[in-house]
């Protein structure tokens, strides 16, 4: 049997606040927690409010099936377009540089957008798939030892690369 996947549709502007809250901290009591913040903007740099971001990542040892580490999180932007995750820096998977998968849902997006955060411009098959001049847009800025910044521009100047898969 081969069924056609249900068509995705826009999240709409009214994703319940309750759903958007309480899932952006993956690190709980970890002493090695890092903070990832960023602003999400549309054309002309206008910030987007109540946009939903979800992430999926390995634990600090590069495990994707650690029952004690959720690996998944969700955040929503505020009126300034800012989001925040608290997590651990993922370990590298075999053949991959350390990375965090991002998924973006919002009104005006007919379906989800997928992108990937990297911690440095290392060799990686997914990062290498992006044209060289745009790869830096997927590398988070290191603000301090435990703080990173990852701005996402949906459209316009320095638009974030998104993946088709």
């Amino acid at each position: 049997m081969k069924l056609v996947p249900t068509a995705e549709m826009t999240l709409g502007p009214f994703f319940p606040r309750e759903f958007a809250q309480g899932a952006n901290d993956l690190a709980s009591a970890s002493a090695n927690a890092i903070e990832i913040t960023g602003r999400v903007t549309e054309l002309d740099g206008k910030p987007l409010d109540n946009l939903v971001l979800e992430i999926w990542q390995a634990d600090a040892a590069g495990r994707l099936d650690n029952p004690d580490f959720p690996g998944w999180g969700r955040a929503a932007t505020d009126a300034k377009g800012e989001y925040r995750f608290r997590t651990v820096r993922p370990g590298a998977l075999p053949g991959r540089a350390a990375h965090i998968n991002f998924l973006i849902l919002y009104s005006g997006l007919m379906r989800q957008l997928q992108t990937t955060l990297f911690f440095e411009a290392a060799r990686d098959p997914v990062l290498d798939a992006v044209e060289a001049s745009r790869r830096n847009l997927l590398v988070a800025q290191r603000v301090s030892e435990k703080r990173y910044r990852f701005d996402i521009r949906l459209r316009g100047d320095d638009e974030t690369p998104f993946f088709d898969d």
Partner: protein, 229 residues
């Protein structure tokens, strides 16, 4: 269990800039999306997602004096993968406006009354057969601001977790026989008529005081061995 996910078919999946939906031209990326090789991190996923997201509310209609206004309905959602295999334990989120077309969200500026007995957000877990039942009231239609007369038909938003990261599905369910379905810029962005029709629930005759609808959700991906059957 290896999961295979194929690329989306543009006939059955809308994307990009859509005429009649102005915000798509400000938000969908201008650059072509990048093809990437898929590996373990894209083809795995948060299985026990409900450990992070507890089931919160399965009945939005309420009872007795706390009954929400509107037509009582029951939606029977079935979650399967592309191989037709039920996704037991799938987490399902649902949200919709009240019978007058008003969301519980503070950003909704529509001039329609709030129903104190209606809170339009539910999170449920599918049973082993992939089934989820949502008891609620039928949502109303509402105008989309600054669009020159676009009215959203009654619809329920669904967010579903499949087997892997790339299976994530956020969509909307529509009701059969609604005239507004014919002109909706979101539903009609799906080019294939059959794919569009699958986004409309089927009414099922019932003997109870609820209108019953069946709605099947197919999440992306299937077991790599499922083709062999």
């Amino acid at each position: 269990m290896a999961i295979v996910v194929e690329r989306r078919d543009p006939l059955t999946q809308a994307q990009g800039v859509e005429r009649g939906y102005a915000q798509t031209a400000r938000r969908w990326p201008a650059a072509p999306l990048v093809r990437r090789p898929l590996g373990a991190s894209e083809l795995s996923g948060p299985q026990p997602v409900l450990q992070r997201l507890p089931a919160v509310r399965g009945d939005l209609a309420g009872h007795g004096e706390k009954r929400a206004l509107g037509q009582l309905i029951r939606v029977r959602i079935r979650v399967v993968d592309e191989g037709g295999v039920p996704v037991g334990g799938a987490a399902v989120e649902a949200w919709h406006c009240n019978a007058a077309g008003k969301y519980i969200h503070p950003n909704d500026s529509h001039d329609a009354p709030v129903d104190p007995n209606f809170y339009g957000a539910a999170r449920l877990t599918a049973n082993d057969a992939g089934l989820v039942e949502l008891r609620t009231i039928k949502p109303g239609a509402y105008p989309v601001p600054d669009t020159g007369g676009w009215w959203r038909p009654p619809h329920i938003h669904f967010s579903v977790w499949g087997r892997v990261w790339l299976s994530r599905l956020v969509t909307q369910m529509f009701f059969p026989g609604e005239p507004l379905n014919e002109a909706d810029a979101i539903l009609n962005a799906i080019r294939d008529p059959q794919a569009r029709a699958r986004c409309v629930a089927q009414h099922v005759p019932s003997q109870t005081n609820e209108l019953v609808y069946d709605y099947q959700v197919v999440v992306r991906g299937r077991e790599s061995t499922a083709l062999m059957r």
